[in-house]
Symmetry: C2
């Protein structure tokens, strides 16, 4: 724990004593503009796909997480009680349990499909690593349908969710040359396991092994599979047959065709939405760690495989019921800001502070300059206040100089759209467009706002 100033001696030690907690970030203005740009892009892309924004508390009853994931999740949570209180709370590590709770609470009054998104902070009590912090931002996008939705409707919802995710990456300047969306299917994995596994009563260990497969050496995986009673050769043969059937590259037998059907439908829907070139379907290649997924699952990766997943999600048709709601098929994904930022920076696609200030409406409209006469000085602050009151972003120097050349440089340095030079008599002002250098003299002070 950092020393408190009382305990520490020199100013230098003091200064060192206070830092952001490990795995969290301070956002100075340039950092904050980048964060805002990501948040606003998430928000605008979700809105134009017809999703409504929601949010829940930043902490929940710890139960909400253990009921879904078991007590094993406790070590990943920051959990606490109120001084003297007994109720256990935890900082939210993900949004889906909150979402399921909110849907369950109003399931009967909400028209279906429910299309919701949220943007906010999440917390994990893990060791910080590249791409993985203790506090991060996450975008959650979900569609929740009705119990009587048919398979085509569900595939359309899956495709819409994936298209929304892809569209965000496209908005950030990424293309299918940078990014691949890998799609798997848990039900197909289950069928392939049933045809290749000696213990069909408990497939969870096999799912867990497949989820880790890409991080293991082949020999290591093969040994672990053998120990579980899984014939991995047969498993891979079945999965590959499904993949070929989905791609339409090989005629399949009835069993394989039946298994492949949901991915064939999904593939058709993704094509309709114009995102086919971003997709790689590999039915058993992505299984996702979280136990609540029930059908399609997907992960978004940088094609070179350099970073962790940029986003991940899938179908979770049983979760709302677990939280007391009616049967509610659902599909969604989450995207964090940390890996996304690393990928955008690596590709040179993260805009600069000045570009972002303009995009995010943080560019000053007017930089007001007094020439230094008594009248001009007296008019400076009231004019700045008047421009701000009329909705404009107005600034003035905080320096003592009244050298117009120096002040025009300051106006340009802060990227102001206009410089306003109050005349000596403060009866009027000169309005100078700093982009075009055009200027208009003798503008009455009252009319300035309407001309900017």
């Amino acid at each position: 724990m950092a020393d408190t100033p009382e305990q520490s001696g020199s100013p230098k030690r003091r200064q060192h004593a206070f830092q952001a907690p490990k795995g969290t970030r301070d956002f100075y203005p340039d950092d904050l503009l980048k964060r805002r740009w990501i948040e606003e892009t998430w928000r605008q892309v979700a809105l134009r796909h017809g999703f409504d924004e929601i949010d829940g508390p930043r902490f929940e009853h710890t139960d909400l997480y253990t009921v879904k994931s078991g007590d094993g999740i406790l070590s990943e949570l920051f959990s606490f009680t109120r001084a003297g209180g007994k109720t256990a709370f935890a900082l939210r590590p993900e949004f889906t349990p909150t979402l399921a709770r909110m849907v369950a609470a109003r399931a009967n009054s909400l028209p279906k499909p429910i299309k919701w998104f949220s943007v906010g902070p999440y917390f994990r009590a893990e060791r910080p690593q590249r791409g993985r912090l203790r506090e991060f931002l996450q975008w959650n996008v979900d569609v929740l349908g009705s119990a009587d939705d048919d398979e085509e409707t569900k595939a359309q919802q899956d495709a819409e969710v994936i298209a929304c995710c892809v569209e965000m990456l496209r908005s950030g300047g990424l293309t299918s040359e940078h990014i691949v969306v890998r799609i798997g299917q848990r039900e197909i994995v289950e069928e392939c396991l049933k045809g290749s596994h000696s213990n069909t009563d408990d497939l969870e260990p096999a799912f867990a092994l497949l989820d880790k497969r890409e991080k293991m050496k082949p020999a290591e995986f093969e040994k672990a599979a053998k120990d579980l009673g899984l014939d991995w050769n047969e498993f891979d043969r079945l999965a590959e047959a499904v993949n070929l059937a989905v791609a339409g590259e090989k005629r399949a037998d009835e069993k394989i065709s039946h298994w492949a059907a949901p991915l064939i439908t999904l593939r058709k829907e993704l094509k309709l939405l114009g995102v086919a070139e971003w997709i790689k379907i590999d039915c058993a290649g992505i299984v996702r760690g979280l136990a609540y997924y029930t059908g399609m699952v997907f992960e978004v990766h940088e094609v070179g495989g350099k970073e962790r997943a940029i986003a991940g999600g899938g179908r979770y048709d049983k979760l709302v019921e677990l939280f007391g709601g009616p049967p509610t098929p659902a599909c969604g994904f989450a995207m964090g800001d940390v890996v996304l930022s690393l990928v955008l920076q690596d590709k040179g696609l993260m805009p600069s502070g000045a570009e972002l200030a303009q995009t995010l409406g943080a560019r000053p409209d007017a930089f007001v300059i007094s020439t230094g006469t008594e009248e001009s000085e007296a008019a400076l602050f009231p004019l700045v206040a008047q421009l701000r009151r009329s909705g404009l972003h107005a600034r003035h120097t905080s320096r003592t100089t009244r050298n117009v050349g120096k002040l025009l440089k300051e106006a340009a340095a802060c990227h102001a759209r206009f410089a306003v030079l109050i005349d000596d008599s403060a009866q009027s002002a000169t309005l100078k467009n700093l982009d075009t250098q055009e200027q208009q003299e003798g503008v009455a002070l009252d009319l300035l706002a309407s001309k900017i």
Copy 2:
């Protein structure tokens, strides 16, 4: 603690088991729009006053709060450690310590004055009450200057901060008939105490008593003052003399004039910024509980005194030093969303969901309708995806009906700007402006985005 589903029996009990923690809020779409409107108004008003946005972590080392406020603050904090870890963390109850830490860390490289704001969640482990929740949003606005700033410069910064606060309330539709900004001055209170108190070595108990004065009965206050050794009659006489001198209503002796000087300067600056009618100066009427204030302090109240303070702040010239930075005069305020929302609702100024959707860019641009022919159906999803890709907010029905009249009603119900009716052959579409009812037939599908 809520029962977990495993323990509980009926679906009804289950549903009840999962709720947001006490004192926190779920934001369904209509609630979220209101929250976003407040956040965006805060943000836009701060930006147009020339403040840059920053943020820190949602939790900090607990030390950061105890060093400023002592261990007494611990009962108001949600604090925790990582499983197996020793470092104590606390959810942030306020922003100022984070701000002071961030300024101290870069004090030498940041040009002055530093003008920063932030918008985000804060947490207090207190009993929830009207206007006071365990999780709330807060807007923080601060100016930090240089050690060599003169009194006039500091008064200008005080005035700018107060004007920014007032401008937000004005943007929300409030006027000086609804709201009063009450301004006090801690240095003047100190002088008045020194002239009326038997124990001038420790004025903290007297400050604490004055902070509570308005909530006490006069007799109760008078007894407590007497017990402290405070001659409250003399104190009030001195404070009133200062107030009259500030108002220019009575000529004051040299001592009183000297004490009144900073508020006279502040009053002049506030007048220049056009906010004089919102202000009530009462040098000893507002002292603020937090020990770090050193000069001007203010609180914003509904004039009827019905709710808690909407905002509060003041000058804290010693705080950055406490966190290891150089001497840095500073002034700022915080405004929460809870009391502000109550006041806006009470005055009928909180916009409706539909108004907010339009203000916040959540209104659909296009509602796309298929007439039900095979060609029109096949064109529906690709067209919606294409419009979204070109930056438009596009929707379609999720119902099976293809009755154009019913679908036009659905388009109007979601406040879409345009309905797009794909022709039977899907060669072109009819574009109908739902605000004006004007329509244009035979628009090529590729040209739709440019006409919306």
